[in-house]
Symmetry: C2
Subunit: 308 residues, 2 copies
DNA sequence: CGTTATCCGAAGGCATTTCCTTTAGCTGAA
DNA sequence: TTCAGCTAAAGGAAATGCCTTCGGATAACG
């Protein structure tokens, strides 16, 4: 089978006009080059150089071969550089898993940070739901992610970064009394997000468990996919909803007007963690993991301070 | 150093999703593929596949490498086909040496023949002079040629194909008597071609020798490069000239009007031969050699018949 | 016209690579 | 829990690649 080495020897010979010159250019002995070219000729079943006295004369076949040989070598060269570029995080795609509402916590800023530090990289934040992302992690399709606990997989490295508190959200100040209980939840007209993921979503399951203890099922009046949609509906007074303080914090000014919130009692928490498989992280993921960890912990501190 | 084999194994693995599948596709055992990919990873100093349970997941580096690896393999593949195409005379350039006045004997027809039989090839007929062409042959820059004898080189295969006769050409019928001798040549006002090659041109040397035997030098009044120019001058009556019957034969209707010719006595002949180095001829040259041989021999028969 | 320098090719030997088979360990699914 | 499928590791056989040395041929030079 044709080999790159043969092509290298061939091109050097073509360029320098003799095996000896090519050999010294490539740092080999002359018979080595000679043999490689002979092998190439044998494999191509043609004559590449006419041996005439001392000196070689390239044949038509050699002229035909030359450009393709160059292309092949250049491609291999380029391949090495492309991989190095990815390795050094100059180019390539950073793929990182996030829980669905991560955009309220960090999405835009995180992407901005990565793009600024590594111009040339693409960023891909994937994830509809923590459970789905965890599955991607386990299958190896993602290297790292930030998702809601629990993560029950001993092969994963789990680093908690933010604890968030579930709050009750309503447009009606009358319903925002100090201590909203599970019984209140069971009685309320609710709009809840994550319609497609209600079976696996940890928040939904936490809520369901708490409400069930009151003897009633959690039966939201409205179900939507998106947290923002749920908030919009709540803002119109059509129903109340439940969400994370971090979401309200992240929305800031963009929180639909007229909404207020109150804590649940007993409080319900969700812990988010950066998760990745054991072993080496690629530099790309390393960068994102570090950024996410720092940013989420900062957010955690900010939110706890505000509570106090 | 990166090798094509490694790239092949890598691509097969990428395509089939596992070492085992790639191995069976390439006809190797699994550990061979595994090792090649590991080697590739080591040389590129990166991870190409994340080993996750059973099955492999390509990394970003693998995605970066893939297109370049494909290009390299395709180029090598294409290289083989390009060479084969030359070998089978589908494309490429056929380079053939000819003596200067060959165009009167065969040039256009020869080219037409080659082009018709091998659409896709380029044809190059090189040669200012038989001596120069012979030098090209010896240096290996030409594979084969048709030139005037003598060829004193034991490494050359010489196949005589046409014997031509030198004739005296004039616009003045009075000077075209039956038996023109060397003395007549010495006395005549002559225009001779091959100004640049008079030292080495065999015809010129033959003429010079014959004239010198009469005690006079060969001192043409006019010297031009081109046989046709010499004939034009002769047609105007400015001087007489000497040329080969084959040239007149080949010119046919295009022979300048008013010119007549007469044989020399003793007759002077020139023999043209197809010449090439010993050993294998490339298919391209083989084709041309055969065409030239057939055509020149046909011409030879035609001219001898006309004499008889 | 001989001499010298240069280059290609062949042979023998050494080191490395490549591929095989076998075996063990791990993972995911029934 | 067992079974099937995959990767990884080890050891050995074969081939490949490279080196040095030598011989033959050619071109340049005195």
């Amino acid at each position: 089978m044709l080999s790159l080495h043969q092509l290298r020897c061939f091109l050097a010979t073509l360029e320098h006009g003799s095996f000896t010159a090519a050999a010294s250019a490539l740092g080999y002995a002359q018979p080595s080059i000679s043999e490689q070219v002979r092998l190439l000729e044998q494999q191509l079943d043609t004559t590449l150089f006419r041996r005439v006295g001392r000196g070689l004369v390239p044949t038509e076949a050699a002229r035909a071969l030359q450009p393709h040989a160059s292309v092949a070598l250049a491609a291999v060269d380029e391949a090495g550089r492309a991989v190095a570029s990815v390795r050094e995080l100059l180019t390539g795609t950073v793929r990182f898993g996030v829980f669905r509402t991560a955009r309220f916590y960090l999405a835009a800023d995180l992407v901005a940070d990565v793009l600024q530090r590594h111009p040339g990289v693409r960023v891909e934040l994937v994830g509809q739901n923590s459970a789905e992302v965890l599955e991607h992690l386990r299958k190896g399709r993602l290297e790292a992610a930030v998702i809601a606990l629990p993560v029950e997989d001993e092969n994963m490295v789990v680093t908690p970064v933010l604890r968030d508190e579930l709050v009750y959200v309503s447009a009606d100040p009358a319903r925002l009394h100090a201590r909203i209980t599970a019984a209140d939840l069971a009685a309320a007209q609710l709009v809840l997000p994550d319609a497609s993921w209600r079976e696996t979503d940890t928040t939904r399951r936490q809520l369901a468990q708490a409400v069930q203890r009151t003897g009633h099922p959690l039966r939201p009046r409205i179900e939507v996919e998106d947290t923002e949609t749920a908030l919009d509906i709540a803002a119109r007074g059509l129903a109340d909803t439940v969400t994370w303080r971090g979401v309200l914090h992240g929305l800031g000014d963009r929180l639909p007007a007229g909404l207020g919130w109150a804590p649940l009692r007993p409080a319900m928490y969700e812990t988010f963690a950066v998760v990745h498989r054991e072993g080496e992280l690629s530099p790309a993921s390393r960068v994102v993991v570090d950024l996410v960890t720092a940013r989420m912990r900062g957010l955690d501190r900010a939110m706890r301070a505000r509570t106090a």
